[in-house]
Every structure is written in C-alpha cells, then in structure tokens.
C-alpha cells in the first residue's frame, strides 16, 4: 500500500519537477526571498539610536576640543 503511495507521489513529483525551474534557479530564488525578507524590514530603531548617540558623542568631543 505504502509502496503504491510512494510510487504515485514520486510520479507526481517528477512531473512537477519538470515544470519547475532548474535547481540552481530555485536555489537563487529562495536565497533572494530569504535575504529580501530581512532587507525589507528596514532599519531597526536600535541602530538609528546608536548612530544618533555616536553622532552626539562626536559633536561633544569636537566642541570640547575647540574650546
């Protein structure tokens, strides 16, 4: 029973595989999907805050140097 099931599944899969892009294209597409999902999140606040603080610290340091 399970053999028939497996055979059917395999036949179905083979058919579908032929309709799908080649393996490397599939891999490239998934890699970009994964990557873009993170990239599309934009910039988390913690990094904006960090840059703000770095900027402040530098301005203060410069102000002190100029005195």
């Amino acid at each position: 029973m399970s053999k028939t099931k497996t055979a059917n599944a395999k036949a179905g899969m083979e058919k579908q595989v032929r309709d799908f892009p080649d393996p490397n294209t599939q891999i490239s597409m998934k890699l970009r999907e994964l990557y873009n999902s993170v990239q599309d999140e934009g910039i988390p606040d913690r990094f904006l805050d960090l840059l703000e603080r770095l900027d402040e610290a530098e301005k203060n340091a410069r102000a002190n140097n100029n005195q």
Binding site: A9, M13, E14, Q16, V17, R18, D19, F20, D22, P23, N24, Q26, I27, S28, K30, L31, R32, E33, L34, Y35, N36, V38, Q39, D40, E41, G42, I43, P44, R46, F47, L48, L50, L51, L54, D55, E58
Partner: protein, 188 residues
C-alpha cells in the same frame, strides 16, 4: 574647513544608513539567528564609525562595511569555536530532508540547508547571489582569489541541491531515474 569635515561625516552617516538593511540581511543570512546577527551589525557600526577616517570617500562603502562585518563574524567564530560546532549538530539533527514534495521549496527547509553549509561557502553564495556583489568584489571582501569565490559558490549550490533533494538525477527525466533507482535497490 570644519564645514568640509562635517559634510564628509554626514555623507558617511547617510550612506551607512542606506546600506544597513542590506548589511543586516547579510548578517542574518550568514548567521541564521537574528539576535546574534543584530549584535554583529551593531559591532560593525561601531567599528566602522571608529575608523571612518580610513575610509576613502567615494570608494565602495558597501563593500567596506561588508568586509568589516565578515571579519567581525570570523573573529567571533574563533572565540566561540566549540559552541558553533554544537549548533551545527543541532541543525543537522533537525533537518529532515524532505525533497520538495509539492514541487516548490519551503523557505524554512531552505534556511536550514543554508545553515548547514560551511561558512565560507555560505558567505560566498550570499554575497554573489543575494547581496548584489560581483565575483571580483566578493573576492575582495573575503580576501581571496576570484576563482576561489567561484568554486565556493559552485560547491554551495551543489551542497544545497543535495540537501534539498534537488539533485541533477531528477532533471534527467524518466530514463535516468528508472535505471538508477533499481540498481541501487538491488545492491542494497
């Protein structure tokens, strides 16, 4: 003169901000764990800020930032040596290879497979395949020859195909399949 310095700095800051989403996507894809990836990005920002004088205005800031991040990544890895090996085991155990049963790849399966690649191969395929770098730029970021990057990308693709059950034999059509499957079955 002070004016000029300030202008350079704000350009640097603006360009760094613009690169952050891409840099962060690289970190997350490379490490697989968003928390650790964001810590790495934070270290990278601080490092880059500290040495912005050594950045040549007008040169490739994106490549420069990626270089800092991957160097940070490897120095952390060296410190963590053992821990990383354990986490490799963790993922290996959990990756049940279900060759794309519905004919399309599941993103979670892909993620797990990506995590199983050796670091240098994962890094190469991400830089070239997703971050948008040319082979030459990726080679510069990784401090190796262009040929090395190419072979790492090829090995990464082959390994991913294997892990995800996308191996070439599926591609050769029914004849190749009907020959190779029984011969394996009888030998076993």
């Amino acid at each position: 003169m002070t004016q000029d310095t300030e202008t350079n700095e704000s350009v640097f800051r603006r360009d760094m901000l613009a690169t952050l989403p891409n840099l962060r996507a690289f970190a997350v894809s490379l490490i697989g764990q968003p928390d650790r990836a964001d810590d790495l990005v934070q270290n990278t920002i601080m490092k880059a800020w500290g040495k912005q004088d050594s950045f040549e205005p007008g040169s490739n800031l994106k490549a420069w930032l990626f270089t800092i991040l991957r160097n940070e990544f490897y120095s952390q890895m060296r410190k963590r040596g053992r821990e990383i090996q354990d986490s490799d085991g963790y993922f290996t155990e959990r990756l049940a290879v279900h060759p794309s049963q519905h004919g399309s790849l599941d993103l979670q399966d892909f993620k797990k497979a990506l995590e199983q690649l050796p670091d240098d191969q994962r890094e190469a395929i991400i830089l070239v395949g997703a971050s948008g770098f040319a082979y030459e730029e990726a080679a510069e970021i990784c401090g190796c020859a262009v040929g090395t990057i190419k072979s790492r990308v090829n090995r990464a693709r082959a390994k991913l195909q294997e892990l995800l059950g996308l191996t070439d034999e599926d591609e050769y059509g029914p004849d190749a399949g009907s020959v190779s499957v029984p011969s394996r079955a009888f030998v076993g």
